[in-house]
Symmetry: C2
């Protein structure tokens, strides 16, 4: 795989219980070291618009036809606004890879969803959909879901997009920007 492939990483901004909306930031990079563009949109916290907004972000950017993969830090944005990664792949035709540091605790998630959402079954089924792979790294393992791309190719993309630690640069930087614009200074890890 060429090291200069274009990848977009999408992450949401931190929010408080008083907010009903939050920012999502997309970072388009060539390989792991050259930022080509930054995209911005707004989603409802705990809403149902994350898939649509991500689809728009991906297909409307001028980099669309050159994108080789979309990276997400978990498939929930803005609380439990869950990305339907299978639908997103069908709509955009750009493979997507979801990275998480921890294996999701589906029992805990189910309890949280049941408490707050009448449509908890649909939300949970979106989260449970697709196979979760474990990827070894030099640090802790990370967990991967992939749509429109194999696990082996996903690993290759993650490796070439990562400089330090385990989080690929487009995701790490999307997180830094999203937290920086909402809090004044970026903090924490993607």
């Amino acid at each position: 795989m060429k090291s200069e492939i274009r990848i977009i990483g999408i992450d949401d901004a931190p929010f408080t219980f008083n907010d009903d909306k939050t920012d999502i930031i997309g970072v388009v990079m060539r390989g792991n070291n050259y930022i080509e563009g930054v995209l911005h949109d707004i989603i409802q916290i705990d809403g149902l618009d994350a898939t649509k907004k991500c689809e728009k972000m991906i297909t409307k950017t001028r980099h669309y036809t050159q994108l080789k993969a979309v990276l997400f830090d978990g498939s929930t944005q803005g609380g439990f606004n869950i990305i339907d990664t299978e639908l997103l792949w069908k709509k955009t035709k750009i493979p997507n890879i979801t990275v998480t540091r921890k294996h999701p605790d589906f029992k805990k998630i189910q309890r949280a969803l049941q408490t707050h959402f009448s449509d908890w079954k649909q939300r949970l089924s979106l989260l449970e959909k697709g196979r979760l792979y474990k990827m070894k790294t030099a640090y802790n393992p990370i967990f991967i879901k992939c749509e429109g791309i194999s696990f082996s190719q996903s690993k290759e993309i993650i490796k070439l997009a990562t400089i330090r630690g385990v989080i690929p640069e487009p995701l790490r930087i999307a997180h830094i920007i999203a937290s920086g614009i909402s809090k004044g200074e970026s903090y924490g890890k993607a």
Copy 2:
């Protein structure tokens, strides 16, 4: 000079005639390829608060003591909200370097300032203060002002912070973020 020095680039977001405020974005980088943090504040368009807001951004970040230089894309932010780079150096003790692609046309600037500002003399004198150096690059020359640092050291910092073209990465990325968050998609050159 070490290639891994920390530099902050500060740029403002584009705005329209209906806006009275705009975003400024600071990007802290190690060398030319690793983003360590993103900072955000808001300034008045054509106001007088840019110097103070930049001082706050620089001195309040957790990277403050490690910063070796501040980079600006021209010394005006948010219209004619002019940065007093000499005062900023005195207050922060971090050297600053102002980069522009074109030699400023002071006669044209004076006419614009006289039309809109009763304090045009003060604003113009801030802009005219300090020596403007011409730096050769592989492309077009750029123009540099520096406070608290020599021209020769400033050139070294600019060279090590630049990947492609003539604009150092912290400034190029600050511009991409600022235009991305205000317009939905980043565009144009810093």
